[in-house]
């Protein structure tokens, strides 16, 4: 299997040629009022991480959606390749026994 691909093309930290200056892309994760996990809500542009959090606050929490914000520069996200869908995911399709549905859970255990 090949090495993980970046979800987005690499942007060199220092650009040799004077290109059109674009702010980097950031992926935004918000933790809602309920639950402990941060969920991906979208992306935005910002010059640095502080502004990315501020922009995320303005773009994604206007309607009281969140209690915590994570941002990560999109180029730092490693992603699986869509073309490897077959070898990566299809083998697990036929393995229903991996779902823990074949056990009787004792009442004493309670909700799981």
């Amino acid at each position: 299997m090949s090495s993980p691909n970046s979800a987005y093309p690499e942007t060199p930290a220092t650009q040799t040629k004077a290109k059109r200056q674009e702010w980097p892309l950031w992926e935004v994760f918000i933790r809602g009022q309920h639950g402990m996990s941060h969920r991906h809500v979208g992306s935005l542009h910002a010059p640095d991480e502080e502004m990315a959090i501020k922009n995320a606050r303005d773009v994604y929490t206007r309607r009281n959606e969140g209690v915590s914000i994570w941002v990560v520069e999109a180029r730092h996200i490693a992603a699986s390749s869509p073309s490897e869908k077959g070898p990566l995911y299809e083998p697990s399709e036929s393995k229903v026994y991996r779902h823990p549905t074949f056990f009787d859970i004792p009442d004493e255990v309670g909700a799981m």
Binding site: L44, H45, K54, N55, R57, D58, V59, R62
Partner: protein
């Protein structure tokens, strides 16, 4: 000046500041340099309009003539407005807008901080609600002033020009008149001259980080908050802001 008159005037000043600046900032909606700033500016504008509803709503109650916040906002002419001159100045470029915002936000934060201890409970309550929004406004506008001031040669020059242009409008915010004195004596609002010290420290720090020089002049335009002499810009704002209520009186949806 009776107590109620001064109190009403004071509430109109607070409400008209946020109304006029809120409208000014809303003019950027759909025009800001990037989408994220567009939304952030619209949020700020809406925060200020929300604060206006509280201040002018209370003003209407204090006046006791049955006027609602909407009546006061939409059915007065320029000479009845009590906003400071800074708030009605044109947007200019994005940098000028952010400089105006920062200077106002820094004053606003200092003012609301003191108003939380107002002898009038309603004033203290509105201040406590508004200050959470304003703390964010000033952080954002301050950061942008620093980023642009200490940015490229062009952004630095534009920010310095903006500061030079807007500086003469800062003094009015801190120059007490009969209304301010009456409010300070009643414990409703702070002594404006005392507010200035904290303000100077705050903006001094941000502007120095932004590598911008504060103009060496204390000249201050006056006449906004007293309503004596607004700049020509206010009338133009009102023609846009009030046209619907003027053309279709009483319209609502």
């Amino acid at each position: 000046m009776t107590d109620t008159t001064a109190y009403f005037e004071f509430l109109c000043r607070m409400g008209d500041n946020t109304l006029v600046l809120g409208h000014r900032v809303s003019e950027w909606c759909g025009h800001a340099p990037i989408l994220e700033e567009d939304i952030a500016l619209a949020n700020t504008a809406l925060d200020m309009i929300g604060q206006t509803q509280m201040w002018l709503g209370l003003a209407g109650e204090v006046e006791g003539e049955g006027r609602s916040a909407d009546d006061i906002a939409m059915l007065r002419d320029a000479w009845d407005f009590r906003n400071c001159l800074l708030c009605e100045q044109p947007n200019g470029d994005f940098g000028q807008t952010m400089m105006r915002q920062f200077l106002f936000d820094a004053w606003h934060l200092a003012m609301l901080t003191e108003l939380q201890n107002s002898s009038e409970q309603r004033v203290a309550e509105i201040a406590a609600k508004a200050i959470k929004e304003v703390q964010y406004h000033v952080e954002r506008s301050g950061d942008t002033v620093i980023a642009l001031g200490d940015g490229t040669a062009q952004s630095h020059e534009r920010m310095q020009k903006a500061l030079n242009l807007l500086w003469p409008y800062v003094g009015e915010l801190f120059t007490p008149d009969a209304v301010d004195t009456a409010m300070a004596e009643a414990g409703i609002a702070p002594d404006l001259t005392k507010l200035r010290v904290g303000f100077d420290t705050h903006i001094g720090q941000v502007l120095s980080e932004a590598t911008l020089a504060i103009p060496d002049s204390n000249f201050a335009h006056q006449g906004g908050k007293s309503g004596f002499q607004h700049s020509e810009h206010l009338g133009h704002i009102l023609t846009q802001m009030q046209w619907l209520q003027r053309a279709y009186p009483g319209a609502s949806w």
